[in-house]
Amino acid sequence: MEILLTQLFNGLSYSSFLLLIALGLSITFGLMRVMNMAHGDMIMIGAYVTYSVQLIFVSMVPESLFDYYFILSIPIAFIVTALIGLLVEKSLIRFLYARPLDSLLATWGLSLIFQQIARMIFGAPNVAVTAPSWLNGNVEIASVVLPYKRLFILVLVCLCVLGLYYYLVKTTAGRRMNAVTLNRPMAASLGINTRKVDATAFALGSGLGGVAGCALTLLGPVGPTVGTNYIIDAFMIVILGGVGKIKGTVLGALCIGLLSTFTEYGTSATIAKVVVFAFIIIFLQWKPSGLISTRTRVLD
C-alpha cells in the first residue's frame, strides 16, 4: 500500500512537471498551428538561469541569504525565457503560422543553435545545482515518504496552472487569446490584435517552460540537451489531450506521468517507454483527435 501511494505521488510529481512543459506547447499549437521543437530548450535555459542565479548568489550575496536564491530564480527564469520566447516569435515563428510541418523543422534548427550556445557558455558536461537547504528533507504521511522537493514542484505547478487558468478565463487579454484560438478571422475582425495575442501566448508558453527548467534543477543535473529528454513526452501529452485545451492537457499529463511511473516501477524504464507508446497508439484508435475535441464542418 505504501509502495502504491509512493508511486502515485511520484507519478503525480512527474505528471505535474511534464504538464508545465506541455501547457506552453498546447497553447501555441492551438493558437497558431506551430509546433515548437525548441520548447525543450526553454527548459534548458530556465535551468541554466537557475544555475547562474545560484552562482551569482555564491559570489555576491552573504551566505545566510543563499537559500533564497531559488525563490528568486523562478521569476527570473520565467522572465528570461519569456523574453527569449518573444524574440523567437518576432524573428522566426511569425513566418511559420499555419505551417505545422515546416515549423517542426525550423524550430528544430533553432533548438540546435540554442544548445550550441549553451555548450559554448556553460560547457558540454552537466552542471549540478545545489538545492536550497529548506527543500532538503521530507515529510512522512502514513509511512509514505514525500520529499519536499517533489512537493514543492507539485505546488509550483498547481500555482502555474491556476494562474494560467485565471489568465485565460478572467482577464481580457486571456479571453482574447481564447477568441483567437477558436476563430482567428472572426477575432481579428472584432478588432483583436491577433499578432499581439500570438506573441504574448508564445512568450507565456516559453516562460512556463523556463519555470519547468527551474523545477528540473531540483530533480537532477543540467546539460545543454536536457530539454530533449522531456520534450517528446510533452508532445505525446499534447496529442493525447487534444489541441489547445487546458483540461485535455492536464488529463494527458496525468495519464502519461502515472502510466510511465507505474510501469517503470513494475518493470524497467525501457519497458515503460514501450508501454506508454503502445498505450498512445491504442488510445488514438479509440479517440483519434485526443481526449477533448470538437466536431467541425471545415473540409481541409
Binding site: T294, R295, R297, L299
Partner: protein, 251 residues
Amino acid sequence: MTQILTCNDVKVDFDGFFALKGVDLQVEQQEVRFLIGPNGAGKTTLLDVICGKTRATEGSVFFQEMEGSIHKLEEHKIALAGIARKFQAPSIFPQLTVLENLELAMKQKKTLWHMLFAKMDEPTKEKIEYTLEKINLTQERNRLAGFLAHGQKQWLEIGMQLIQDPQLLLLDEPIAGMSGQEREKTGRLIHDVSKECSVLIVEHDMEFVRNFSKQVTVMHEGKVLCEGDMNTVQNDERVIEVYLGRGKTHA
C-alpha cells in the same frame, strides 16, 4: 419512377446544436431536385450526411438497391457507390494539371494496384477530351489547376464529378462566382446530366432555381418545410413566412 435516394428522419447533433432535426427526403431516378432555404437551414449539412462527410446522429439514408443505410459507410465507399459531391469552395488539386485532376476523378477501379499500373489508353483519352470539351477547358488541359480563374475552377470541379459517371450528383451552390452566361450553361448542363443521373442541388440564386427547377424542397431550421414545384412553393404561406418574415427578401 423509382427512388434513388431516401432519407429517413435524419438528425445531426453538433455537440448539442441540432443542425438537422429529422429530415425526410426522397429523390427519384433522373430527377433534378433543388434544395433551398435560409442560411442555417441545414442544406449543406444534409449533403454532408448523404456523401458521408458528416455522420448522422440518428436516422438512415438509403441509396439505390444498396442494402442497409449508407450513413455509416466511409466517404470513399459512398463515392464508389455512385454519389458524387461538389463542394461549395472549389476542392480541386491545385498542384496537378487540369488533365491530371480529371484523370484521377474518372470512373475507374480506385485500388492501389490499378492506380499503379493504369495506362493513358485511347478510351481514357477520349473520355477526358470529351469532358474537357464539356467544361470548356480543352485549352487549359496542361495548366496547373491552381492557376485557373475562379469560374474555371468551378467548371473543373463539375467536370471531375461528371467524369465519375455518378448515379447521384450533389451540387452545393454550383453557380457561385459564375457570370450570367456561365450560369445559363451550367443550368443546361445540369439538365443534360439528369438524363443519366439524379441531381440534388443546394442553391441560393432564386432566378436560377426558377429557371431550371421542377421539384423544389424548402428547408428551414433543420427540417423540410415543404416540397413541390416553384409556383407551389413560392405561394406556400410557411415559406413566405420564413423568407419574408425575417425581413430578408432575396427570395
